[in-house]
């Protein structure tokens, strides 16, 4: 079990953890409040015009304060597009984590708790999934099915990411199941569900939490990569990866701001998530230290 108060005490004393939290939270606030915070809605056709295309950032010659970070090839405000793109990143990130934790835990529980044939089937599938890179499978899935958008990307990535949760869950359940307290609970008349929910689950939560924290960064990178390649988000959905892809075409003309700003925001977000995930892993899993 986790000593929550100890973790919190360490958390307050760790500048890295606090700094990362601030970054993630402020990006989160931007993403949630995009409709009110962003200067423009870059995907509302009425708000941008081609005559504003490729404006440099405000501090450069030719830049205006209307478009602080400049505009892209369609005349969209970069800052606004980044804010809306963050929303997509978070949506996909948390969507995948939620879905794959749920599905993975349930499958892992079933495999570990009931064993036999169903265990073998789930484990074999997991083995096969793990032998191919997640990125490749998601790309092929989306590319072959010709799906685009938030929901397809969430489904495609979750279809691969559930495996680790299932494995961890199964391993923990197997280990805990052999413990005496489970026998004791059973002899007191507790049913399967009660044993699972009040005895097995609390022991696994911290491990699942750590995996989820590490996965979140990976999922966000994955989404931006898929969108960069043109198989993730459709043109009508803001995405940092797609912004970078469209800006990349103009890089040779010396127009760097369409690529650099979304890239930096993406990098900062992932860095913060990864550092916080690392910190959590060390904190909740002292064996690795």
């Amino acid at each position: 079990m986790i000593d929550t108060r100890k973790v919190l005490r360490h958390y307050i004393k760790s500048p890295t953890a606090l700094f990362c939290t601030i970054i993630i939270l402020s990006f989160g606030v931007l993403a949630i409040g995009a409709d009110w915070i962003a200067p423009d809605n870059p995907y509302d056709l009425r708000t941008f015009s081609l005559s504003d295309r490729m404006k440099p950032p405000a501090w450069m010659r030719g830049g205006t304060l209307t478009f602080v970070l400049g505009t892209d090839d369609q005349g969209r405000d970069i800052l606004s597009t980044i804010i809306y793109g963050l929303r997509t990143s978070f949506l996909v990130g948390f969507g995948v984590i939620a879905l794959s934790t749920l599905v993975g835990s349930i499958l892992g529980l079933i495999a570990g708790y009931f064993g036999r044939l169903i265990d073998t089937v789930i484990c074999r599938i997991a083995d096969i999934m793990l032998s191919f890179p997640a990125f490749l499978m998601a790309l092929l899935l989306l590319g072959l099915l010709k799906w685009q958008g938030e929901m397809p990307v969430i489904l495609a990535i979750s279809a691969i990411f559930w495996v680790r949760y299932a494995r961890v869950m199964r391993g923990n359940v197997l280990a805990e199941k052999a413990r005496e307290y489970v026998d004791a609970a059973r002899s007191l008349g507790a049913g399967n569900l009660r044993i699972i929910f009040s005895h097995l689950l609390p022991n696994v939560v911290s491990t699942l939490f750590v995996i989820a924290a590490v996965d979140l960064g990976m999922v966000i990178v994955l989404e931006s990569t898929l969108s960069f390649l043109g198989v993730g988000m459709p043109l009508t959905t803001p995405s940092l990866g797609m912004m970078i892809a469209s800006g990349y075409n103009y890089l040779y003309a010396g127009i760097w701001w369409v690529v650099l700003f979304p890239g930096l925001v993406l990098a900062l977000l992932i860095l913060a998530i990864n550092l916080l995930g690392d910190w959590l892993r060390r904190e909740l899993n002292p064996r690795i230290q």
Binding site: D127, I128, S131, F132, P133, F135, L136, L139, L140, G143, L144, L145, K146, G217, V221, S224, T225, F228, L229, G230, V231, G241, I244, A245, Y248, L251, Y252, G254, W256, V259, G263, L266, A267, I270, L271, N274, L275
Partner: protein, 321 residues
């Protein structure tokens, strides 16, 4: 151990059969293959002719057996785009991808190994700390962003290296190599470093972690107390033991590199398999996509099998069930 090996081989074959079934279903039900082959403005007769040619009028299991039979014989259908055999298209692109992934792996292993050992032996040096921050960047930044940044700095601003393409290639039999020309090598540096950056950072961290763990062992202290030099202890006693986990992840890394070369090839317009795959996806050229999947599945199964068997030989202590 023999039963373990045969079990692994059997499992690999099952995985490959599974992949063919998935590919077969994809091919049959994603879009209309007859229409794609005959073209949009085909007449009804032409459509039927195309359907007959593809065997679509036969029962499903017969189609699958035919599909499998032809796949075993290297026939994966005709590309809708270019009307040439899909396998030939994919195989023609393979040398470019393998050279890119192989070079990236050498970068990752050599540089990662050296930096990792150094950072473990001298953890307090400024250089070691900088290297660790660098590896954090390498793990954090998405591959495509690293690629674009390196193109912007080294190709556009500084003009040191070419921004895209593969340069001049020399054909040796069926293999076309860019490794033997100056322009080919110049074109290889940026994409290979970009592709290998993640793995390089990972190897550095893994090697450093393993080395630090080994260096803290008693037998290292004993070796030092015997009067052996630091270099000797580091290389002979510590590195040897730190390498075992490293060797096993190296094989898996190659697979990751081949997969992620899709991204790098797109950024650098590298004429490899990944580039072809994205083009085929964009054009709904199913035979090429499916051929790519089969080829890549074969490569992966082969790599995984080799890694498992190597591990089995390197580390006989493991009990196999």
């Amino acid at each position: 151990m023999l039963s373990y090996i045969s079990g692994r081989i059997l499992q690999s074959i099952l995985v490959l059969i599974g992949v063919t079934i998935i590919c077969f279903i994809m091919f049959q039900y994603m879009g209309d293959p007859a229409l794609a082959l005959a073209g949009m403005d085909a007449t009804k007769e032409q459509l039927e002719e195309a359907a007959r040619m593809l065997g679509l009028d036969r029962p499903l299991y017969e189609q699958y057996v035919r599909f499998l039979w032809r796949a075993v014989h290297g026939d994966f259908g005709i590309s809708f785009m270019t009307k040439t055999p899909a396998l030939k298209l994919v195989l023609k692109r393979m040398p470019a991808t393998l050279e890119l992934a192989g070079t990236a792996m050498i970068f990752a292993t050599l540089i990662g190994g050296l930096v990792g050992v150094f950072a473990a032996v001298k953890p307090r040096f400024v250089a070691s700390r900088l290297a660790m921050v660098g590896t954090l960047m390498g793990i954090t930044l998405p591959t495509f962003f690293i690629g674009i940044l390196s193109i912007y700095f080294f190709a556009i601003l500084l003009g040191w290296l070419p921004p895209f393409g593969r340069g001049d290639v020399i054909g040796i039999g069926i293999w076309s190599t860019g490794l033997l020309t100056v322009s080919g090598l110049k074109h290889l540096i940026l994409p290979a470093l970009t592709l290998g950056m993640f793995q390089l950072s990972m190897s550095t961290r893994v090697i450093r972690g393993e080395m630090m763990e080994v260096l803290a062992e008693d037998y290292i202290r004993t070796a030092r107390a015997k009067g052996l030099s630091v270099l000797m202890v580091t290389l002979r006693h510590a590195l040897k033991n730190a390498l075992i986990p490293f060797v096993t992840i190296a094989g898996l890394q190659l697979g990751q590199l081949i997969a992620f070369s899709i991204v790098t090839e797109t950024v650098f317009q590298w004429p490899g398999m990944g580039n072809l795959l994205l083009m085929a996806i964009g054009q709904t050229d199913q035979p090429v996509v499916i051929t790519y999947i089969m080829v890549i599945a074969f490569i992966f199964v082969f790599i995984n099998l080799t890694v498992d068997l190597t591990y089995c030989l390197l580390n006989p202590r493991i009990a196999y069930d």
